[in-house]
Symmetry: C2
Subunit: 299 residues, 2 copies
Amino acid sequence: MTLKQLEAFYWAASVASFLLAAERLHVSQSTLSKRISELEGQLRMTLFDRSGHRAALTEAGQQLLPLARRMLGLADEMRTLGTEGGGVRGHCRFGVGELAALTWLPALVACVRTLHPELVLEPCVDLGAALEQRVESGELDFAVVAGYSSRSSIASEAVAKVRFAWAAAPGLVGQRRSVNARLLQETALITMPPAAGPTRMLEHWLAVNNLEAGRRLTCNNLAAIASLIAAGVGIGLFPNGWLRQMADRQAVVELRSRPALPALEYTFQWRRDDSRPLLARMREAVVETVDFTKPSLLW
Amino acid sequence: MTLKQLEAFYWAASVASFLLAAERLHVSQSTLSKRISELEGQLRMTLFDRSGHRAALTEAGQQLLPLARRMLGLADEMRTLGTEGGGVRGHCRFGVGELAALTWLPALVACVRTLHPELVLEPCVDLGAALEQRVESGELDFAVVAGYSSRSSIASEAVAKVRFAWAAAPGLVGQRRSVNARLLQETALITMPPAAGPTRMLEHWLAVNNLEAGRRLTCNNLAAIASLIAAGVGIGLFPNGWLRQMADRQAVVELRSRPALPALEYTFQWRRDDSRPLLARMREAVVETVDFTKPSLLW
DNA sequence: CACTCTTACGGCACCCGTAAGAATC
DNA sequence: GATTCTTACGGGTGCCGTAAGAGTG
């Protein structure tokens, strides 16, 4: 019986897929399969029922699971004994939205590189809904997405509150500086896909205020959206700070709306059953560096 | 980090000797040494201070020790999950006195062989005091010896109470059937070495009753003692039941003494910090089979 | 037919034990 | 010099990943 076998079993059991568990452990799927069958041989128990399409935990497996969890927890405790207050090691896969990717992600990476030099980060940029699902499946260790998760297996903790402002090219709106039903009818509304947090917030705001957009333009790339807005194709949203910087360049002007757009709460989300110290450290780093108001200077 | 490394560390730490730990784990001493230094490399901690003659636990090692203990305990729990109520596996080294070796040891071995077919037993016959020390050092998993241990690291649990009777060859004592000061002076007293439980009990009885033995004859082999007594060389002690069987053959007669010899309590002794299920199973088996009254028919 | 897990197999790494070395008492 | 631990080294086992196979829905 080895720790590797137990790790394989634990993740296979809690992710309910050998393939995903293998990816999370950075081993081939065949290796994971073998580790589990060897564990079964050692313990003389059948841990998974392979009769169906997917492997399902047997009763013996369910008994073993909490023991394996405690065991891996102890192993983590041991590993952190030496690096008391210091850096964690290993890999960390996490997800952020594009908004975060274009603002504080570089700062986060820089912060982690100094605090935990031996931690390999694998950021994944995707829409909030997709990230949440990948956290639940175990593909990602955590994600920072808009809103609290509705899934019971996922824990959420607020890390930032973001306010948005309307933006448009000066040529498109002339002297007008407010968003109303007429403007929404006249111009296109440029947004990220519906699964993105800001888009969901906006849709909700429109519905609550009985407003309807005329033409809609959805784009999955935030840089592209910014270009479209600057080019006068339509109006859209940006986090508050961005507009000041862009307005300085006279590319876009800020519009107001009544009522104002609500603030959007971003949360750090992770699997409730994943209590590795890694997550606490990463949460600290995120809290330290999160800042949606300053766009990265790269674009 | 592997379970083998932690096992090596745990036993090296609690036995305070790499060599003894290696023997207990059935590996070479070099292997054990390497496992520990690899663990130190993994955890980036120095667990043992090798500057002195013997390796001594560092502070970091002392922090790790309880974690390792819990870890190995969990591993044992897992192993027993499958064999619920059934047999344990592995090796078991234990010690018994010669009295036990010549009475119930075969029954114990037979009992364990049916209850736990995959357990390899390694009995060790020696004097009580020596056995106790080897239990403390970790060489033995447990021992059944006379009296309760005075060592704080050893737990004792009573498993049998043995009464002894005086024995002598008919030719030596004539019609006399009681032991008194005069008989003790006239004949030799044949005993096991002073470290043996029955001898300690006898010495205590002599002192309390202000008696003194004339000639003394100490022999470390119980079969030899029996032969000597039967040959009329002197008087000695046997557990109660033995005399009936030997008297039947008219080899020896039973003598009485006033006050009677006290009963000798035999205990199952094991390291207090060793909580493996193996020990509970073995204790059950010992309680099941312990019987000092019927000598094995082999001699 | 897409998907998931198992099996076969070649290669490489790791781990073990023997034996010799270093250091302490 | 005896004891205790470390280091060097050869040999074998075991583990990994690739790729093909079996079974399910």
